[in-house]
């Protein structure tokens, strides 16, 4: 039986990245045409202002969550607790400042430590107790906001701390500092994945865990790592959130963050079944989600239509990425070509 080389394997930076980028480009184009001053950028007080900057700024938390979520999903897992971890992180930070007047560097350190502990908790449940990820992280998701409220005793703690406020409010190289945080996190993650064997290990655990274990991969370590890492990313997002409003709102902080994070990851090309992951794709996915929200807000469409539009976009992206659709597109493409 003759067999032509199947180019079924999606190569890095190849086909899967095309669709999300195209979707993002389309959205930006639409805005450029229909939204007034969408592309205008102004500089005031050494900071860039404009719709584009807004998207980057507001989308920072989603992008961070997406980075962490990508690795978790790659191991065939999921983390439903990121929203709760954002709330918990915010609560820890605000409480430390308000109740203990802690220096900002320590606040950041302890907050991230708390977020990491949440991640380790999830990782331990999944890796050591062999509990399904969706159930394991559901526990923290359910209890997490309760814990956050426990820390703030049910109140919205507000504070004034210039360093913490800089996280979301400050700027570096004309861009909001939150953007810098995202870029640095993305870069560090990418380096960690590709310059060490972690990327290979994570993908192998997701693609076939028993085989990876028999090949000698420390699957327990890999799983605990990805959940801890996801927790830390949520912690960073939590710091940005708390910096944004100079306070901790345990009820609303990080609301729906997990859903947006999962969505961004899937739009970006990583499959829910695990295996190959695409960090840049997830960032693009997060940008699409944020651009969508901004598009609706700045257009004549009433804001409560946001969710409806979001649902259509989710569906459209899923359909485009589905195997059935990919097959149809391939058929259309080759129909004019070889016999």
């Amino acid at each position: 039986m003759s067999r032509q080389p199947e180019t079924k394997q999606k190569q890095r930076g190849g086909i899967p990245l095309f669709w999300p980028l195209a979707a993002l480009a389309l959205l930006l184009l639409y805005n450029a045409v229909f939204t007034q001053d969408f592309l205008t950028l102004t500089i005031r007080n050494g900071q860039l202002y404009g719709s584009l900057v807004d998207i980057l700024n507001r989308g920072a938390p989603i992008m961070l969550v997406a980075i962490g979520m990508t690795l978790v999903i790659s191991t065939r897992g999921v983390d439903l607790s990121v929203g709760a971890v954002i709330a918990i992180s915010g609560a820890i930070a605000a409480w430390l400042i308000v109740a203990h007047d802690t220096p900002p560097a320590l606040v950041i350190l302890l907050t991230l430590l708390g977020a990491a502990l949440c991640g380790i908790w999830n990782g331990a449940l999944v890796a050591f107790l062999d509990i399904q990820p969706i159930v394991a992280t559901l526990i923290l998701m359910v209890a997490g906001r309760g814990i956050a409220q426990l820390i703030t005793q049910g109140q919205i703690l507000t504070f004034r701390d210039p360093v913490i406020n800089f996280i979301a409010g400050g700027s570096l190289f004309y861009l909001p500092f939150s953007v810098t945080i995202v870029v640095v996190t993305l870069a560090l993650t990418a380096v960690l994945m590709r310059w060490t064997a972690l990327g290979l290990f994570i993908e192998s655990v997701g693609a076939n865990e028993p085989a990876a274990r028999l090949a000698g991969v420390n699957t327990t370590f890999v799983k605990v790592f990805v959940y801890t890492f996801c927790g830390i990313c949520a912690g960073i997002a939590g710091l940005i959130a708390v910096s944004n409003i100079s306070g901790a709102d345990s009820n609303n902080a990080g609301l729906n963050a997990e859903l947006d994070g999962i969505l961004a990851t899937v739009i970006g090309g990583t499959s829910l079944n695990g295996g190959r992951f695409f960090l840049v794709g997830s960032i693009v996915g997060a940008l699409i989600i944020q651009t969508l929200t901004t598009t609706i807000l700045s257009s004549d469409v009433p804001p409560h239509y946001t969710l409806v539009v979001k649902s259509v976009v989710v569906l459209a992206v899923c359909l485009l990425q589905s195997d059935a659709m990919q097959a149809s597109i391939r058929r259309l493409a080759t129909k004019g070509g070889a016999a």
Binding site: L80, L129, D130, I131, Q132, I134, V135, A136, L138, I139, L140, M141, V142, A143, G144, R145, G146, I147, Q149, L150, Q153, G154, L259, I262, L263, V266, L272, P302, H304, Y305, T306, L307, V308, V309, K310, S311, V312, V314, L315, C318, L319, S322, D323, A324, M325
Partner: protein
């Protein structure tokens, strides 16, 4: 021996926990021994319970339905509009929203089947859609003053000295329906088969596609009905109702003995899961604790259940 019993029927463990929990509560607060405290568990959580019945079958089939909470909000607000602004007879209005809900569920099921998309994502889109459409219909809460409607909401059946509210009866009826579907219909057994091994179900010639569509339609029907119940209890429709309820429903289902991986579980278990949920809420109230302790308690309960399930199934392997 206990282990084998637990394996045979996961509902047994759930029942045990409930009995224990209730007994401990009754010792601490004798009020629990009063019948209407027990009955209140049903009426207070009727909406959650009805929605959970639908989600149970979906989870047993190996899928998941995140749109449940949003459907409640959407249905309640559409119901309010139909009754108050379109002046439809309440029964007709209820029928219409149930049809709309079921249609939405059928749509989601059809997309999941035809394009082989992950139910997580499709029902997530459904959740956004339902919540969004609810907000489009009305941003604010709409009250329902139609007397025929409010009368049914207030009606209670009397059995001896007990009074059972109408919503509790609807809840019990839905549980019975769900249990019957799961055990005594080919559809129900196909749901278990698909959850147990979808590939095998296909090769065995079972109508996998049709069953999937039907199970999401049923779940949507249940959540639409739950929306009606919500409207009955509060005499109003509110698009934001049911926010986060899908997670509570899933938690109740898991506590009820259903495995999130599919193939194992039962509707009666979910009923007990909802009751446990209710007992904890009531306890938190009685203990005069801050509301956030309720969430933490449920999280701990979920953890306990999951651990026990793990230990039992691990030893058996």
């Amino acid at each position: 021996m206990i282990r084998r019993l637990l394996l045979r029927s996961p509902v047994v463990a759930t029942l045990g926990v409930f009995v224990l929990l209730y007994a401990v509560s009754a010792i601490r607060y004798p009020a629990f021994t009063r019948p209407n405290v027990f009955l209140n568990l049903f009426s207070d959580h009727a909406a959650l319970g009805i929605a959970a019945v639908g989600i149970t079958l979906v989870i047993i089939s190996g899928g998941i339905d995140l749109s449940v909470g949003a459907m409640i909000g959407f249905t309640s607000v559409v119901l309010a509009v139909l009754i108050e602004q379109n002046h439809l007879h309440p029964m007709l209005a209820v029928l219409v929203v149930l049809l709309i809900g079921t249609a939405l569920g059928t749509g989601m099921g059809w997309i999941i089947r035809t394009f082989a998309l992950p139910p997580f994502l499709v029902t997530l889109a459904g959740m956004f859609f339902a919540r969004g459409m609810g907000l489009v219909v009305s941003l604010k809460s709409l009250s329902i003053t139609d007397e025929r409607f409010t009368a049914f909401g207030a009606w209670e059946a009397s059995i001896g000295s007990l009074r059972i509210p109408s919503v509790s009866l609807v809840f019990l009826a839905v549980v019975a329906l769900g249990a019957w579907l799961g055990r005594y219909t080919r559809f129900g057994r196909n749901v278990y088969a698909i959850g147990g091994s979808e590939d095998s179900a296909v090769l065995m010639g079972l109508p996998v596609g049709a069953t999937k569509i039907r199970v999401y339609a049923f779940s949507a029907f249940c959540s639409a009905l739950a929306g009606v119940i919500f409207a009955l209890k509060g005499s109003s429709g509110y698009a934001h109702a049911g926010a986060g309820l899908e997670m509570d429903a899933i938690a109740a289902t898991v506590v009820g003995g259903t495995l999130l991986s599919g193939g194992v579980g039962a509707v009666p278990g979910t009923l007990i899961g909802v009751l446990i949920f209710g007992v904890i809420q009531t306890l938190v109230l009685f203990e005069n604790l801050n509301s956030w302790w309720g969430r933490i308690a449920i999280g701990l309960l979920l953890l306990m259940f999951v651990l026990v399930q793990r230990i039992v199934t691990r030893r058996a392997a």
